[in-house]
Symmetry: C2
Subunit: 188 residues, 2 copies
């Protein structure tokens, strides 16, 4: 299963067996059941997570009305955590919980900085990943600014048809920022 | 003026004089007048820009109705470009133009990758900057999902009181996603 991490890193930089074993030794494997939390709002954030299998959502709950907003989904081959809390070592403002049974490899900030300092190629890998993440978020902002919820639903369906099957409709509605009833009008 | 770049990098990693001169030799200085474009929608994106002085906006124009959406502002000590186009060497979907007379240091992707490969500490610097950028965008998404335009105006005023003075009201309105008339109701 951890071979998935190797394949993922090797899309950016080649590794020897020894290098990969060394990198892997800095991760902690975790298995989670459906509905279990990896990050809980208000709690410290110890790890960044590389998803081996399963599906998670990162969400924010408005303390005033208890309404949940989905920031993003993460599944196989994605990294996810509350990055603001992780990098600043502050408490989470997001929650991260499992929509399906999930297996992850968890990397603490100390270990991330350690392997980045020790191995230039890993620093390079994480820089490239961070650049891609930045571009993805910029696209999401543009989409929030310029498209309707129905257009966003159609984009999601076109880009990630599997996701629509795997995620309950109430959660898709919350990602799009509409009610469950409004979503049902898009999916006739 | 280029000392500003050194101070900016040294917030993350110390540099010798020789290292800084070497890094600086990979940048091209540019001076721009008010309303001049650094990045133009549809054109290739050659550079990432470190702002020495002035003020820029990154915007997207909807081809259907010609409406302009402001993605972000950039001023002293910020980096800005159309990152999707820059990293993927594709044509810009954003425009980047000067709200004030602006001086920048421009870094091509080839030179960025060169100094990152040659100097581990520069790769580290850009990884850290990219992480901060990611966090800032995540905050903007949360704000777009969970707050009203009036609340976003008040956040902007609290965080960047100077910006409100420097940017024309029509552009602030476009950043918030409201009409000029709606904005005037927030600013009584």
């Amino acid at each position: 299963m951890s071979e998935k991490l190797r394949q993922h890193i090797e899309k950016i930089t080649p590794l020897t067996d020894i290098e990969f074993e060394y990198i892997l030794s800095h991760f902690v494997p975790k298995k989670l059941k459906k509905h279990q939390f990896l990050v809980q709002e208000g709690a410290p954030v110890q790890y960044d997570y590389f998803v081996l299998s399963g599906l998670l959502k990162a969400s924010y709950t408005n303390p005033e009305d208890g309404k949940e907003y989905i920031l993003q989904f993460a599944w196989e081959d994605w990294w996810t955590t509350d990055y603001q809390a992780y990098f600043n070592q502050s408490n989470a403002i997001l929650s991260l919980d499992c929509i399906e049974e999930t297996e992850v490899l968890a990397l603490s900030l100390t270990n991330r900085e350690k392997i980045c300092a020790e191995m230039h190629k890993i620093e390079h890998f994480f820089r490239r990943k961070s650049n891609s993440g930045y571009i993805a978020l910029q696209r999401r902002i543009l989409s929030l600014l310029t498209t309707s919820a129905q257009e966003r639903y159609e984009q999601l369906l076109a880009c990630y048809p599997d996701l629509i099957q795997r995620v309950p409709k109430t959660i898709i509605a919350s990602y799009l920022g509409v009610s469950r009833e409004t979503l049902s009008r898009f999916t006739y």
